[in-house]
Structure formats: structure tokens, C-alpha cells
């Protein structure tokens, strides 16, 4: 049954996923081209005039750089759009009229929730990796092919790991790992929040869910931000080790939030949430 549920989830998500993926790839390539052209123009203008002040070259550089920024935003927006679409599908199929179809299936609520989670997570994680690839291409374009850009972009995804490691291969690996866990955290917390909203709120259930989501996310971010700053301002023997420890704790906490939210969601759907 889990396989059938996942198949139907995939069928429902593949069209928007394909559209978003196409947007990401096109925007990523366009952004890379813009940044490559920016660099080329800069090099030419430096060669010809010895200065970036040449009016035409300067204007073109600004336009291309702004275009690259917009493309970078589009890549991020495509990931965010898929995330919102998949979480709203979770809400729509369980807590609106479509719930009458979903919740009367001879399947446990745990399987219902997990099927939705795994399909959305795998697609979202793939999207995040594609987005990282696009940003890496852009970084390579602006840096003139500097391979350090590859690990540099990846390590930026590592949260506190980025401060603990030195931008090498391990740092990049930690960045990828942290990004995948963050995807699970974001989806799990969204599912848990939407389920809580559907259970608690009499009206404006989605708004209540957004409030829970932002509240939990804000508290966790605040705690780990304070912890990181305290570590950096304190007298510790090894920054790398201590910040690494904070990063590991945050990673585990994110995983725990994801797993706990999914378990809570399945439990509430089975025992508490009533369809209107």
C-alpha cells in the first residue's frame, strides 16, 4: 500500500516538479551566462581602458550582474514554490474535502503521512541539489573557473559547520548533509504545523499552522544562534571543535524535529483531527 500511495503522490507532483525544475535549470544557466559575461566585460574594459569607469562597459556590467541576481533568486524561488506546493497538497488531501477520499482508504495514517513525506522529501532534496549545482556554476563563472568555488558554495549550506570547517572537501560534504537534513526538517515541521492547525484552529487553520511553523523555527534558530555566538565570544580551546559540536547538536535537533513532527502528525490524524 505504501508503494501505491507513493506512486499516486508522485503522479500528482511530477508536473509542478518538472515545471519548477525547468525554471531552475534555465535560470541557473542564464545566471551563469550573465556572470560569465560580466567577468568577460570587466576583463575587456580593464584591458582597454585600464579602468572599470568606462560608461558602456560599466552599465552593461551592472545590468548583467542584476540579471544574474534575479536568476539566482529564481532558482531559490523555484525550490520554495515546490516546497509550498507539496506542503499545501499535504493539507488539501488530508484536511479539506479531499480528506474524505484519503482518510477513508484502508491504510494506516502513518503510511498516508510517510508516503507524502518521502515523495516530497526526495523531490525537494533533488531540487536543493540542483539549486546548489546552479549556484556552483554561477560561482565558477564569476570566479573564472576557480575550483574552490565548488566547495565554497557547498560549505555555505552547512550552517555552523561553515565556521567550523575550512572550506575543504569535508566542509562541502557537511554542507550537503546539513542541506538534506534541513529539507527533512522543513517538510516535517510543516506537516506537523499544518496538522496542529487543522486540529486546534476553528478558523484560519492554515494561518494557525504558519504561526506554529514560524514560531518553532524562530525559537530553534534563536537558541542555536545564541549558542554559536556564545561559543565564538568565549574562551574555548578549539573553535572548530566547539562550533562543530554546536552544528552537530543543531543537525540532530533538526532531525528530531522532523521525526517528531511526522509522528505527531500521524497520531493527530488518527486520533484527533475531524474533517469539517
Amino acid at each position: 500500500m505504501l508503494g501505491k500511495l507513493m506512486t499516486y503522490e508522485l503522479r500528482a507532483l511530477w508536473k509542478p516538479a518538472a515545471i519548477m525544475l525547468a525554471i531552475m535549470v534555465v535560470a541557473g544557466i542564464a545566471g551563469t551566462a550573465c556572470l560569465g559575461a560580466t567577468r568577460a566585460i570587466s576583463e575587456v574594459s580593464w584591458g582597454a581602458y585600464g579602468s572599470l569607469a568606462a560608461p558602456t562597459a560599466g552599465n552593461a556590467t551592472v545590468v548583467l550582474f542584476m540579471g544574474a541576481l534575479f536568476c539566482g533568486f529564481l532558482v531559490w524561488a523555484a525550490v520554495a514554490a515546490f516546497y509550498v506546493f507539496s506542503t499545501m497538497r499535504f493539507y488539501r488531501t488530508l484536511f479539506t474535502d479531499e480528506g474524505y477520499l484519503t482518510l477513508t482508504l484502508p491504510v494506516s495514517t502513518g503510511k498516508l503521512v510517510m508516503a507524502k513525506f518521502w515523495v516530497s522529501y526526495l523531490v525537494l532534496a533533488a531540487f536543493a541539489l540542483v539549486a546548489l549545482l546552479m549556484y556552483t556554476l554561477m560561482a565558477l563563472a564569476i570566479s573564472g573557473g576557480d575550483v574552490d568555488a565548488v566547495t565554497g558554495v557547498a560549505s555555505m549550506m552547512g550552517g555552523w559547520f561553515a565556521f567550523a570547517a575550512d572550506g575543504d572537501g569535508l566542509s562541502a560534504l557537511l554542507g550537503y548533509g546539513n542541506m538534506l537534513v534541513t529539507c527533512a526538517y522543513a517538510l516535517g515541521l510543516a506537516y506537523g504545523s499544518l496538522t496542529l492547525g487543522a486540529w486546534w484552529a476553528r478558523r484560519h487553520k492554515v494561518a494557525a499552522a504558519v504561526g506554529v511553523y514560524l514560531g518553532v523555527g524562530w525559537v530553534l534558530s534563536l537558541v542555536f544562534s545564541i549558542a554559536g555566538v556564545l561559543v565564538m565570544s568565549g574562551d574555548v580551546a578549539s573553535w572548530d571543535f566547539t562550533l562543530g559540536a554546536v552544528a552537530v547538536v543543531q543537525l540532530l535537533m533538526n532531525l528530531a524535529v522532523a521525526v517528531g513532527s511526522l509522528a505527531l502528525s500521524a497520531h493527530l490524524v488518527r486520533t484527533k483531527v475531524d474533517l469539517n
Binding site: K4, A12, D97, E98, G99, L101, V107, S108, D274, L275
Partner: protein, 291 residues
Amino acid sequence: MSEFPPSQPAPAAPPTPPAPAFAPEAPQPAPAFAPEAPRPTSAFVPEAPQAAPAFAAPSPSAPVLWCQNLTKTYGSAVALDRFTISVPAGRIVGLLGPNGSGKTTLLKMIAGVSHPTAGEVRVAGLPVGPQSKALVSYLPERPYFSRSMRVREMLAYFADFYADFDSALAHEMLGRLGVDPAAACSTLSKGTVEKVQLTLVMARHAALYLLDEPIGGVDPAARDYILSTIIRAYRPQSTIILSTHLVRDVESVLDDFILLRYGQMLLHAPVAYVREKGTTLDAFFREEFRC
């Protein structure tokens, strides 16, 4: 709450219904689709179901539907109040009452899309869960399709998830009701959506059908076909709980009826009970709930 007949003995879970206390209804007319066996003639069975562990198989000797002190409250409002009933296999039971009497709430709790505040529901001896849902075919009062799906995709969906779904029968019903399986759900009228949903629900070989306002939005011709053929004849061994305000239309297909008011059961009796009084169920209902 008054359950009829008041002096009905309650033996412990016999495998077959006891002899009827009332004059049995006239034999059912021969259905168009050759039922496997005639409907039982008594609505009344023992009150105590076979206890079943959470993951047991359905018990053939247990009533198809058993509710004990089933209560649902929303804040201070009581939607259903200590509802207790036992329904055997093969009965068509009308769930009647004015707006807000708890009919939909009851069906939702049996189907598992709403949760009791107190009390218990069992379907064929099983608590509400994946196993009971495999035995229950529920038609809610509102459309539950994804508007992006086509009718044939809905048929495939049901065939995938319900082992008892009869695709050939579903296509036959859709043909009789004039519904194109290739049509997109977003293009269907309200009445056609109801026809499709009813087809999906009745094309299953379920033990218990829960139909919430199944004919409210369909045209009179289709209504006749739905009542006389789909509901009356297709499922002679199954139990059907049918909630509706169209009492006159459904009266001819009902074996028993339940009257609900303010979440409480006023009466549970065979339709023959009102006929013996020289009236119709529709007239009885109007008199009982006169504003």
C-alpha cells in the same frame, strides 16, 4: 431515546438474526441484478457484539454496525449524545432527522473521518481503523475529487486501493447514468459528481455502505434508477445506512429507520411499524418534526 420494539430479547450474538417480532415486510421484488440471497427480514439483533482485538479479522457473527454510547461534542455543543445501536447484515436503514440532528456526524465517525468524544464504534466487530475502512464504503455529502482527475482515473484509484472494487460494474453503472468515464472532474455538474461518487461507492462489495444524502442533487429519473436498482438490488447481503431528507423518495427501499433529533435517537424501528399505523414514513416524519 426509544428503541423499537421495547421488549425485544437480546440473546448473545447468534449467527443468524432472531425471528422478527413484527410482521415481516413483503418479500422484496426480484432485483434486476439477481441478488445472491434475499435480504434478512428482521432488523433486530443482539446488542453486544463479539469483542475483537484491534487487528483481528471481521467476525461473521458480530453485527455489521455496533455503536455504544457514541457521543460527539464540539465545545459545549453536543452533536451526538450516547447513541447506541446494533445493525445486522442485509438491512437498509434510513437515518432521518432535521438539520443538525447528528446524522452526518454519526456517519463520519463510523467512516473514521471524525473521532468520538466518548463511546465506541465497531464494524463487523472491528474498531474503526484500516481494517474497518476496508469493509465500509462511505459516500460523504460533499465532492471529494481532486478537480484535476478524470472519472476513469478515479475508477483506477478505487481499483488500486479497494480489493472489493468491481470496475466492470462501475463502468456499467456510469453507462446507465450517462456519465462519460473520460470526462474531467472539473467539468462535471453537481448532480453528475454525485452520480460518479455514488457509482464509486456502490461498485464496491462492502459489508457496510454509508450514504450521506446520496440523491439530493440528482435528477428524478436517475434518482429512481439509483434507489430501485443500485441501492435496492445490487447489494442484498450488505447493510446500507442512508441519511436523507428526501423521505418520500427513499421510503420504498428502506427496511428500518432511525429518527434523530438534537443528537439523540428518538426511534429505531422497521418501516412496517409506521405502515401498521396506517401512515407513511414521510407523513410520520413530518408529524414528528413539525416546526
